[in-house]
């Protein structure tokens, strides 16, 4: 439950893959050269270090500003040049604004008040700790030209090319095999034909089989054999009928198509988000709860598209356009991404329920999650690896009881239960109590 994020935090894959792309095309190398040149020119022009600026930007500004997209605050690409051209404001003004925007607004500065009102009075955090050099680094970073989307497109076509190549080679192999078999069959027919012709030519009469009684008649005559096979057939069919009947109403492996494709693999696996982040009511209530869409928006307000490699992986491996799924979320929750505000037009998402206990069985999540401290994965399986969620456990009564018989109750640091545990341990003559011995098998605990 308390997963150590430290161990998971180490793997960042983005940079490594980009290096591979670089090796892909020589065109991209040229592009990179151009890019480097522009960086160096902007370096000399503004005396700021865009690389340092990027780090500063990501830690201080990026929560509210993106370079090319309006977020909580305005887009910042070329902000210094734009302000100088459109408003006639210089670096001095920007320094004041960044270090203490509230003060600037109070001083009655016209443009400061205009921008404050334009963003509905959202106050920009003051950054008194940024030095002149820090600010020029950040501005140097924002003055960089927009990176060409070409390398991404190249890599995507490269990836899809490899994919189709794989498909073609598979089909080729299959086709070649089919042709080979056809040739073999033809050869056999031809050989038989020629042999027959030889036989005819040499006047040899091919011996026909004796006209004895057919096999099935012989079988019917042998009554013992009939009896044995009938018994065998009856037993076998009873076995299969029993197997069929006992899986009725068991939905193990049920994997419905959901209205919005949500990948637990990406969220809980790759990004290591705790189950209870979204399914928060599992801690405190009977239901684990389907998260409402505003919980999605906690992150997806700023994550409006997935990383390029994730998108490519989704299309190639799972046939899913993740960015389109995020658009579906925005449509359902009524979020206008361009304007960065809610439109108020929402459509409920009809999620398909997967785990469904019959009405006559009572199950309480909080009792298992909070009180017993059972990991979610014990019942729900490796959810963090599931691209599409499915029912991992059979959820039958036998399955519940097996677990109750095996699970030892954790009584450590629980003074409330100490006495009753001692009594029960004495009664059963065991050191550690299982859930079953605590009454976990009583009918009335789950059926009432």
């Amino acid at each position: 439950m308390k997963k150590s994020y430290q161990s998971l935090e180490d793997n960042s894959t983005n940079t490594m893959i980009q290096v591979i792309y670089r090796k892909l095309t020589s065109n991209f190398l040229n592009l990179g050269l151009v890019f480097l040149l522009t960086i160096s020119t902007s370096l000399t022009a503004q005396e700021g270090d865009p690389a340092k600026g990027k780090t500063l930007y990501n830690t201080n500004c990026a929560s509210c500003h993106q370079l090319d997209k309006k977020m909580t605050g305005p887009a910042l690409r070329n902000v210094e040049a734009r302000l100088a051209e459109e408003q006639g404001l210089d670096r001095e003004w920007l320094n004041k604004w960044i270090r203490n925007s509230a003060g600037l607004i109070k001083s009655g500065d016209a443009y400061a008040n205009q921008i404050y009102n334009e963003y509905n009075g959202t106050a920009m955090t003051a950054f008194p700790q940024l030095s002149d050099q820090d600010i020029s680094d950040i501005l140097a970073y924002t003055a960089q030209p927009k990176a060409e989307p070409a390398p991404a497109a190249g890599s995507e076509t490269g990836a899809t090319g490899a994919q189709t190549e794989g498909g073609i080679s598979n089909k080729l192999i299959l086709g070649a095999l089919a042709i080979l078999f056809a040739l073999l069959a033809m050869a056999l027919v031809l050989v038989r034909k020629t042999l027959n012709r030889f036989a005819e030519a040499k006047g040899i009469d091919i011996a026909m089989e004796d006209k004895s009684i057919p096999l099935w008649k012989a079988f019917v005559k042998n009554q013992f054999l009939v009896l044995v096979s009938v018994i065998f057939l009856l037993l076998a069919s009873a076995y299969f009928v029993y197997g069929y009947l006992s899986q009725i109403g068991v939905d193990q492996g049920y994997e419905p198509v959901q209205p919005i494709h949500y990948s637990h693999r990406i969220h809980a696996g790759d990004n290591g988000i705790d189950c209870k982040y979204c399914h928060s009511s599992a801690r405190v209530s009977k239901h684990s709860g389907i998260p409402s869409l505003n919980i999605c928006m906690n992150c997806h307000k700023s994550i409006y598209q997935v990383a390029e490699e994730t998108q490519a992986e989704g299309i190639n491996e799972y046939g899913v356009d993740y960015n389109a799924e995020i658009k579906k979320l925005y449509a359902a929750v009524g979020w206008d991404d361009a304007e960065q505000k809610y439109t108020g037009e929402t459509q409920p998402v009809k999620w398909v329920r997967i785990h469904n206990l019959p009405d006559f069985a009572y199950f309480n999540h909080s009792q298992h999650v909070t009180v017993a401290g059972v990991e979610c994965q014990t019942c729900h399986g490796p959810v963090e690896e599931m691209e599409v969620m499915y029912q991992y456990s059979p959820l039958t009564m036998g399955w519940c009881i097996d677990c109750h018989r095996q699970t030892e109750v954790n009584v450590k640091d629980n003074a409330y239960y100490t006495k009753i545990h001692e009594q029960l341990s004495k009664k059963y003559g065991v050191d550690k109590l299982t859930a079953a011995q605590m009454g976990g098998l009583e009918c009335g605990k789950c059926h009432y």
Binding site: T59, S63, G249, Y254
Partner: protein, 175 residues
């Protein structure tokens, strides 16, 4: 073989057959069910405006805007006294709900930040923000800038436990 072929007939995208489903299906309203009693058939509804939950409930009257934030920052104090603070639970809740972005140490280096999914998460010892218990509570309750509200994932008492744990992390960072 035959058994496997019977099983393979079952399609995974639709639920299995049920035997006499009368006792399987609930008569009463179930959570998230569809019902004609509500507009659009959605049973998951917000409570009626102005309704108050049973038990010990204090309305939170500070508004969701910048003035409210500043007011909370200066005046709002924790409703927990020192005996009610359970930093173990505070840490558990913090690690679930906050650590993913703010980092388990509060330095703004959570897993989503390290993977560059969400950027610009400040450290708790940020001088420009100078967070206080009131401002932390206000931010958890309403959200701020890119951060959303956590009022429906944490109840009032849990929010104050998290606030206390955040202050502890802030003190550790400032050492």
């Amino acid at each position: 073989m035959m058994f496997a072929s019977i099983l393979s007939c079952k399609k995974d995208t639709r639920p299995n057959y049920q035997f006499m489903p009368n006792m399987y299906e609930p008569v009463g309203y179930e959570a998230y069910a569809e019902s004609d009693a509500f507009p659009g058939g959605v049973e998951a509804q917000l409570p009626a405006e102005g309704s108050i939950p049973r038990g010990d409930f204090m309305p939170f009257e500070i508004e969701n805007n910048n003035d409210g934030y500043l007011l909370a920052k200066q005046t709002l104090k924790s409703s927990l006294d020192s005996t009610q603070i359970d930093s173990e639970r505070g840490k558990e809740l913090y690690d679930i709900y906050c650590g993913i972005c703010h980092g388990n140490k509060g330095a703004g280096q959570g897993k989503l930040v390290k993977r560059e999914k969400i950027l610009g998460v400040p450290s708790y010892d940020d001088a420009g923000r100078a967070i206080t218990e009131g401002s932390i509570y206000h931010t958890i309750y309403y959200g701020k800038n890119a951060m959303g509200s956590y009022a429906n994932q944490l109840n009032e008492e849990e929010r104050w436990q998290v606030v206390d744990y955040v202050l502890k992390l802030k003190a550790d960072l400032e050492k």
